[in-house]
């Protein structure tokens, strides 16, 4: 899973386009085909059988008769409403889809009720069209207030997460919450899952779940950004490795199985609701696990760049300029190499230690790891002038300064200053090549004095 996340974390644009396409497709489908409302709130045709007071057995017989007539006529009711009143008459309302022709069924039932078994019962069959008043299927005020609640949640989440985590994480979480709600609703519309007021609950809960899944990732990311192990890694790697895959998948699978179980054992309306909730859950998991980290990456990169003091154009800020000036001045202060009568045999040129890599830019104000200190060799002291014609001893060869990558410090007579500021590591100077002082020439034999 981490391999997939490593790839997807860099693809925020592609993911955003995919989600936008889903939204647009849902709007187009809804515009063309209308909203698919659940049968209990949609237009219908009803066949109502009204009669006197029936015992349980008589009621069952009546229902059996009606259902057998439906089978004969090839019509199938969506559901039935047994509208009883205590001590009064009974009424059974069979609800069919709005385009069903019930004329033949009514005639058949009228004929059946004139039979011997039912002639004493006062039975009346009526067929009616049942058209839901506009806007009642899912009242607009309910939807608008629910949308307002989601927006308010996004704002509150932004405020809390920004305070407790980071500003960028707050922005990412708020956007993820909104995206989770919008995409959940879009998928429900696109898949033509029958909607009723319960569907609003699924979308509302999807916001909460999206926030939870996003916070799982940010909790891990928050801890990883403070650890040494991730300081040198790229932002995309850090984010990809911080995805809370296990926790998100565990919660998704557990809740998903629960919903499947509830839907499998429940009635039709429960089944459709469980499916809506499952869709909302999967969308929330996708947004929290895949989209939110990808959305966070550009924010993090931007914050890292600001922390370095550089912009994308390479403009060097005032601080970096000052640091460069200090380095130049230090170079000028280095002593000139020692002037010797004869060029000394230079030792093999000291290998330039590889320049110390600047530490990976850090976002946190916590002090960055100091680069491995490379001890700069002190400038070579001038050998003391020879006073006596004693043969000059070659000084012990100076050890070549170790390359910067090697931790072994170079032995030098003078202590070496460490780089001045941890945030702006001064580039380590290449140590000046060490020159051996030239051997002193043997003094010419003393001239015989004239006196002799």
């Amino acid at each position: 899973m981490n391999k997939i996340l490593t790839k997807t974390v860099k693809k925020v644009t592609l993911l955003s386009i995919i989600l936008a396409v889903i939204l647009v497709a849902a709007l187009v489908v809804t515009r063309l085909l209308g909203v698919n409302y659940a049968a209990t709130i949609d237009n219908a045709k009803t066949l109502t059988v009204t009669g006197g007071y029936f015992t349980e057995t008589q009621l069952e017989d009546l229902q059996e008769l009606c259902e057998s007539e439906f089978d004969k006529q090839g019509v199938d009711p969506l559901y039935a409403i047994d509208g009883g009143r205590v001590g009064a008459d009974n009424e059974i309302v069979y609800v069919f889809s709005a385009d069903t022709d019930l004329t033949a069924v009514k005639t058949a039932l009228d004929t059946a009720f004139e039979g011997e078994a039912w002639k004493d019962a006062v039975l009346n069959v009526r067929v009616a069209s049942d058209t839901v008043v506009d806007g009642v299927e899912m009242p607009w005020s309910y939807v608008l207030w629910a949308v307002g609640a989601v927006v308010l949640f996004a704002v509150l989440t932004f405020a809390y997460v920004s305070l407790r985590y980071r500003l960028n994480m707050g922005i990412t979480t708020a956007i993820s919450v909104l995206v989770g709600a919008i995409v959940s609703a879009s998928v429900l519309l696109l898949c033509r899952i029958p909607l009723n007021n319960s569907s609003l609950y699924a979308v509302a809960v999807s916001c909460l779940l999206t926030a939870v899944f996003t916070l799982f990732t940010f909790n891990k990311l928050r801890a990883n950004l403070k650890s040494e192990e991730y300081k040198s890694k790229k932002a995309s790697e850090v984010i990809a490795e911080s995805s809370a895959t296990k926790e998100t998948l565990a919660l998704t699978v557990a809740l998903g199985l629960s919903l499947v179980l509830v839907g499998a054992l429940g009635t039709v309306s429960v089944r459709w609701f469980a499916l809506s909730a499952l869709v909302a859950l999967i969308v929330s998991a996708f947004v929290g696990l895949v989209y939110a980290p990808a959305l966070y990456l550009p924010f993090k990169k931007s914050a890292d760049k600001k922390a370095e003091g550089k912009t994308a154009s390479g403009y060097v800020g005032a601080k970096a300029k000052k640091a460069k000036t200090v380095v130049k001045e230090e170079k000028k202060e280095e002593p000139a190499p020692v002037a010797q009568p004869a060029p000394a045999e230079e030792p093999a040129p000291a290998e330039e230690p590889a320049p110390v890599e600047e530490p990976a830019p850090v976002e946190e104000p916590a002090p960055a790891e100091e680069p491995t200190p490379v001890e700069e060799p002190a400038p070579v002291e001038e050998p003391t002038p020879v006073e006596e014609p004693t043969p000059a001893e070659e000084p012990a060869p100076v050890e070549e300064p170790a390359p910067a990558e090697e931790p072994t410090p170079v032995e030098e007579p003078a202590p070496v200053e460490e780089p001045a500021s941890a945030e702006e590591p001064t580039p380590v100077e290449e140590p000046a090549p060490v020159e051996e002082p030239a051997p002193v020439e043997e003094p010419a034999p003393a001239e015989e004095s004239d006196e002799n």
């Binding site: 309910y142 509302a204 926030a211």
Partner: protein, 490 residues
């Protein structure tokens, strides 16, 4: 904690949890020696339409009758026009049918009235309701079973379509007799308030209304007060819709500056009924009357129905939830060893607290819908997921070489703020959802309960249970299923 103390506490805790769980979910049974039946908490919920069924009634305009009435009254087709399953009166005085066709005025008035009635039901904020037009000229309304306490008043009053009238001693007040003056010029607004456990309707008067009150106050002073048992006096100031008295204004219900009157005072439990009247009055004040009236809906005209997809919807749902609960109790024990028992006890505690809160918080507010099931499940699964993350943190600390006690302390501490942050955000979400209306508002309240309970179980209760169980445990490594490799002694 000493071992003996821990064992005693453990046993007590187990007994309490088992008893409370039984109170919550034990199936119904007859109590021997009494006609009463044991009802668990889980069967005392008010359900939405999907799970609990509901009530429905028809609104027929005056002059419109059903096929049953047509046949039972022996009416003639000369007097009625058949439209679908309805019969419309051809009497010219009714203005419904003219020249063998339904008049445009009647169609317009009916459609406008149907729309306004739909707006009133929407303002009531039912989580589930359905309002449909049957055969073009009658209205069918369905309400969830949870509204049983007020279904009668709602069905009866929300279909009133007359204009608002204010009458003093049976005659319209002088102010309303002037041309162009309507009740809206006298009554600014109507709202519902509660005080001292009493709910009442507040009628706010305009300046014209105040002067009307000033004028009639003297007459009202001879009338009984609102608390008087004397109903013989006809000196009353009544607010009416059509011919129906909605509220009587008594002298002692008018404030000293005449700006408002407090009417329809009832016990706070019946606040919903007062809300119905307030919605009705506001609708009539703002939109006026309609040239159509509907026949009165008596309680005997209201029918009840079971959940449309089967009476067993709730039973099957409970079976599914029971299976989920068993899995939630067993799986943590298998995965986390005896620490899993802590998670199981925590889950049972969550079930008890949430189950009881859902049942016993104000009737009418806590309607159990499918959304309630979803937030309950989500809270339960999240709580267990966080238990698992705590276990993982403890294990990690142990693998780093710490003792069990130190690992537990450190593991809990390291996961503390992550858990707090998650529940804090969820609480903010639940509070934000309070902005929603109807079912979303109810869902928000239920989500708050689930979040607070889950946070309590994860942050405090589980720690306390773990402390007790761990103290009583003989082998702390086995408790967590930890294995420590022996150090090599060299």
């Amino acid at each position: 904690m000493g071992k003996k103390k821990s064992v005693v506490l453990m046993v007590l805790l187990t007994i309490v949890i088992v008893v409370l769980t039984a109170l919550t979910v034990l199936p119904t049974f007859s109590i021997p020696g009494t006609p009463k039946k044991w009802q668990p908490v889980a069967l005392q919920y008010d359900f939405g339409t999907d799970l609990g069924g509901g009530y429905y009634a028809y609104y027929y305009p005056e002059g419109v009758i059903t096929q049953t009435e047509f046949e039972s009254n022996g009416e003639s087709e000369e007097d009625y026009l058949k439209v679908g399953s309805l019969y419309l009166s051809k009497d010219e005085d009714d203005g419904i049918v003219s020249n063998g066709a339904v008049t445009e005025e009647f169609k317009t008035a009916f459609n406008a009235a149907a729309k306004e009635i739909a707006n009133r039901f929407e303002a009531k904020g039912f989580s589930d309701y359905r309002l449909s037009i049957v055969d073009n000229y009658s209205i069918r309304v369905e309400l969830p079973a949870s509204q049983s306490s007020e279904v009668g008043s709602v069905m009866a009053y929300l279909a009133l379509t007359g204009e608002v009238d204010i009458q003093m001693s049976g005659a319209t007040v002088d102010e309303l007799k002037e041309e162009g003056v309507t009740a809206k010029d006298l009554i600014k607004s109507v709202s519902v308030a509660t005080k001292y456990k009493t709910a009442y309707m507040k009628v706010n008067f305009t300046s014209l209304g105040k002067s009307m009150i000033e004028r009639v106050k003297e007459d009202l002073s001879t009338a009984p007060t609102s608390s008087s048992a004397d109903t013989s006096s006809d000196v009353t100031l009544n607010i009416m819709i059509g011919e129906q008295v909605i509220a009587a204004v008594y002298q002692d219900t008018i404030t000293s500056n005449n700006s408002e009157a407090r009417v329809l005072a009832v016990a706070q439990d019946y606040k919903a009924t007062v809300e119905t009247f307030a919605i009705l009055l506001n609708s009539a004040l703002n939109n006026g009357g309609y040239d159509i009236s509907f026949r009165e809906v008596a309680n005997s005209d209201i029918r009840a129905f079971e959940p449309v997809y089967g009476e067993n919807a709730v039973t099957l749902l409970y079976i599914a939830l029971a299976i989920v609960l068993v899995l939630v109790l067993v799986v943590p024990a298998l995965v986390m060893g005896r620490y899993g028992l802590v998670a199981s006890y925590s889950s049972l505690s969550y079930l008890i607290v949430v189950g009881m809160c859902f049942a016993f918080i104000t009737n009418g507010v806590f309607e159990i819908t499918l959304g309630s099931v979803l937030v309950f499940l989500a809270g339960l699964v999240l709580m267990n997921a966080l238990h698992y993350s705590v276990y993982g943190a403890i294990k990690k600390e142990f693998d780093n070489g710490r003792t069990v006690e130190a690992s537990v302390k450190s593991g809990f501490n390291k996961t503390l703020w992550n858990t707090v942050d998650i529940y804090a955000v969820l609480l903010l979400g639940a509070l934000a959802l309070l902005l929603g209306v109807a079912g979303t508002y109810t869902l928000a309240l239920q989500a708050i309960i689930c979040v607070v309970t889950g946070a309590f179980c994860n942050l405090l209760w589980a720690r306390a249970i773990n402390y007790t169980f761990l103290s009583a445990s003989k082998n702390k490594y086995k408790y967590f299923r930890f294995v420590r490799e022996d150090d090599d002694d060299e």
